[in-house]
């Protein structure tokens, strides 16, 4: 029985996300794949003699449409240190946006996803992974969101790259 899963943690628009590291092939430098295009522009390019389709994580998760008055609230005294550390713009791995290359099952087109800042590779106990609360399970508009990991008191949204 699996007790831990390895999760790649990254932030996009100051929100922490995690993906099963088993779905990730590689983190690519932007300039190595799409040097001439604006960051976030979805496109198809050639990479290692194969077609690579690059999706924008931010638009797939509708982060552009976000409007929240919560960001104006600075009175929260219990903000998790883990959250604060990991939503800072400077990465613990490399301080630059990346294209996350997903693991490919067949010989088809490669798939990449623009993310902003890769943070950490974490081993998370399955006991720390929660289902979405019932109202959210019923109302979610994005199938790719499958759960929440709670790490040092900090909730991390877990995303299934295959359903993105």
């Amino acid at each position: 029985m699996r007790h831990n899963i390895s999760v790649l943690l990254f932030s996009v628009r100051n929100t922490l996300f995690g993906v099963d590291a088993g779905q990730v092939e590689e983190l690519l430098n932007i300039e190595d794949v799409v040097s001439s295009r604006p960051f976030g522009e979805e496109c198809r390019v050639r990479y290692n003699a194969r077609d690579l389709q690059i999706l924008d994580f931010s638009s797939r998760l509708q982060l552009h449409e976000r409007s929240d008055p919560w960001r104006n609230f600075h009175a929260a005294p219990e903000k998790s240190a883990f959250c604060a550390r990991n939503t800072a713009a400077i990465s613990m791995l490399e301080p630059s946006p990346k294209v996350l290359l997903t693991k490919q099952k067949g010989e088809g087109m490669l798939r990449g996803i623009y993310i902003e800042y890769p943070k950490q590779l974490l081993s998370i106990s399955v006991g720390c992974i929660h289902r979405l609360p019932v109202l959210m399970r019923e109302k979610k508009l994005i199938e790719a969101i499958w759960g929440i990991a709670l790490v040092e008191g900090c909730p991390i949204v877990l995303v299934d790259l295959e359903r993105l």
Binding site: W70, N72, F73, C83, P133, M136, K139
Partner: protein, 176 residues
């Protein structure tokens, strides 16, 4: 009349009076069934949920954003290792959101295994009121979210509107 007999009659009268008073009090308790209410402020008015549906009241720490949710579900909070959704009642009722303040609170409600935090402007009180003091005035049926109103009572000289949490959850779970 002998003195002993007079004294016994006096005691009997007192005991009968006590018994009558206790009967009256019991009858009064039966008549005045009370309910517990959690009173909160919202949009400059007082509202309440039945206290039996509220598990706890927490201060607002960080609301973690979850993408792809309706705007009335702005995120989640961590309450001692449990993840709770946060429901913005203003949005449910079609009102604009307002910035959080230090008075903002999240009340954790649970009805029929549906559980969620509910964001309110402030929590004012937890009190017992006679059930019969909650009445449905025709005027409340004209407000936009009338379908969620159980009735009204008076709190500190103001109207207090009792909201139907069960119906709020049930309607949210309906397929839109």
């Amino acid at each position: 009349m002998p003195q002993d007999q007079q004294m016994n009659e006096g005691i009997e009268e007192i005991l009968e009076a006590v018994a009558r008073r206790e009967d009256r009090e019991r009858a009064s308790e039966i008549e005045e069934k009370t309910v517990q209410l959690v009173v909160f402020a919202f949009d400059d008015r007082f509202y309440a949920f039945y206290g039996e549906l509220i598990q706890e009241i927490v201060t607002v720490t960080e609301i973690a954003y979850v993408p792809g949710m309706p705007d009335y579900l702005p995120g989640i909070i961590n309450v001692r290792g449990e993840i709770e959704s946060v429901l913005d009642l203003r949005r449910v009722f079609g009102l604009p959101s307002v910035p959080l303040t230090t008075q903002s609170r999240i009340v954790i409600g649970e009805v029929d295994a549906v559980r969620s935090g509910i964001l309110v402007d402030s929590v004012e009180d937890v009190l017992e009121v006679p059930e019969e003091s909650i009445q449905l005035a025709p005027s409340v049926l004209e407000v936009e979210f009338a379908e969620y109103i159980i009735g009204e009572a008076t709190y500190k000289g103001h109207n207090l509107t009792l909201l139907d949490l069960k119906k709020i959850f049930r309607n949210l779970l309906k397929t839109e």
